[in-house]
Amino acid sequence: MEIYMDGLTKNYGKIRALDSINLKIEGHGCTGLLGPNGAGKTTMLKLTTNIIKPSKGKVELNNINVAMYPEKALETVGALIEQPEFYSYLTGYEILQFTARIKGLNKSEFASEVKRLGELTEINDFIRRKTGNYSRGMKQRLALSVAMLGNPDIIVLDEPTFGLDPKGMVDIRNIIKSLAKDHLVLLSTHLIYEARELCDRTIIINNGKIEYDSAMSPERDLLKITAENNVNIISDKVKNYSRDKNVFIIEKNKNFSNAEIISELMKQGLKINYVEKYDNLEDIYVSVINGKVIDNISS
């Protein structure tokens, strides 16, 4: 399973929404697209799922060009883009049935899929009702079922927890976590904590360009330590560190565990009050959006 973008560009009139994107995502796992509103996240996903056509460049899904052979390319893809609406005169069951027919599922495959997805996305209570009467959350759950129907290799999700209540958010995130174990999930979100919780790889887009890709510059393993005193740290277990009064941001040497680092720091005379994992992604995001150099984050 693979998504490949080569020089992908999209213009809306004079506005360049996406600018020469080169990206390759391979294998299972969740890749998160982060960025502010209008950054180009949804445009990228729409191009990936043939909702819009590229002005230049191409998207390939499992080596098949989406714009040229959409029917073939989208066979192995399930998508939830923006907040989809369904034909209001059809029930959720009929929507799944129609989708199954397009995806080429036979009757018995469809029956087992409805059972599986009904339990997974908890749509059983309202699946026989017309979608015109669905709430936002119900539609979102049905859309996720549609995306997962037929167990496609690649799942493209555009802000899947948008508009959901807290329980709905947790449910959907759990589904995405389990999907990422054996699917390629491309997830767009503007929630940093969501990306941190779900994604193995994070890409930050701003002004139509990829500004950061954790695959190219992996997040550093950082600890935030609040101490009672100040000491100069000299240790091969610590790659780098910064200090603001009694708060230390420690970049660990990855060969050592947190316990070993803390033990070492205490040996060096540091009186530690509190240790937490430092939220690196949030800083990276803010720096990228503000146009700062990412490498300066912890220095």
């Binding site: 809306y12 729409k46 799922t49 043939n50 909702i51 819009i52 056509k53 959409p70 029917e71 073939k72 390319a73 989208l74 066979e75 893809v77 998508a79 883009i81 923006e82 907040q83 989809p84 609406e85 369904f86 034909y87 209001s88 929507i95 989708t99 397009i102 995806k103 859309a143 549609v146 493209v156």
Partner: protein
Amino acid sequence: MLFLIVIVGAMMSYFSFKYINDLPTFLGGKVFSSSIKVEVFYYLWTLVLLYIPVFASVFFGSPAISSEIENKTAYYIFPLPINRYKLFFGKYFAAFTVTLFIIGIYLVFELITLTYLLGTIPVTYFLRSFAMLILFILSIMAVTFLISAIFNKNTYAYITVFVIYYIVFEAGSFIVELLYKYTPVYFLNEAGSIIERVYINVNVENPFISHLDINPAPFSAIVIAAMVMVIYTVISLAIALLLFEKKEVS
């Protein structure tokens, strides 16, 4: 729409029963042969029938493409592994079939009523009229789909279809006929009038008509009208398909 057609069919039946013997009075007391009477009654039924494809195409065809964008169902349907050509023709033939079904109800009313009252069906003329009717539905639906593919809002599509049919076509043929004493057979409404003119070659919708003939339309007129409708169908579908293929939800 179904309800409306049943009402219209029932009304036509009622008026046919009521005025079956009054035709000579309406036409200045002139006595017609029984075959002319049959053709006049089928002509009158078909005159009303001609409006149904137009209304049906507005009802079923106008929102066919534009609603996918306006109602955001495109976000559901476009990422599915289905060729847009298939999607387009699926919608087109669904709209055609449902229109034909509705018209079928009207035709059942017509055949039962007129067979009961007149005791005969002018089979050849009826089949010619029906064949032209199918072409007319295909062509008016194709034009409507083209308009629907241009717009992203249903209202614009509804209004434009009405404007094109009742102002551009109807008024256009009026004006051409008035100014140039010439029937613009290339207008879809004029071509569509062949459905009634296979019985009697008069287009009563156009008072400036240059051809007034109690006889059925000649075969050449049927061929020309059929060709016009086929051309409208092919060109409209080709452009609509191109537009739909490139349709984006942005």
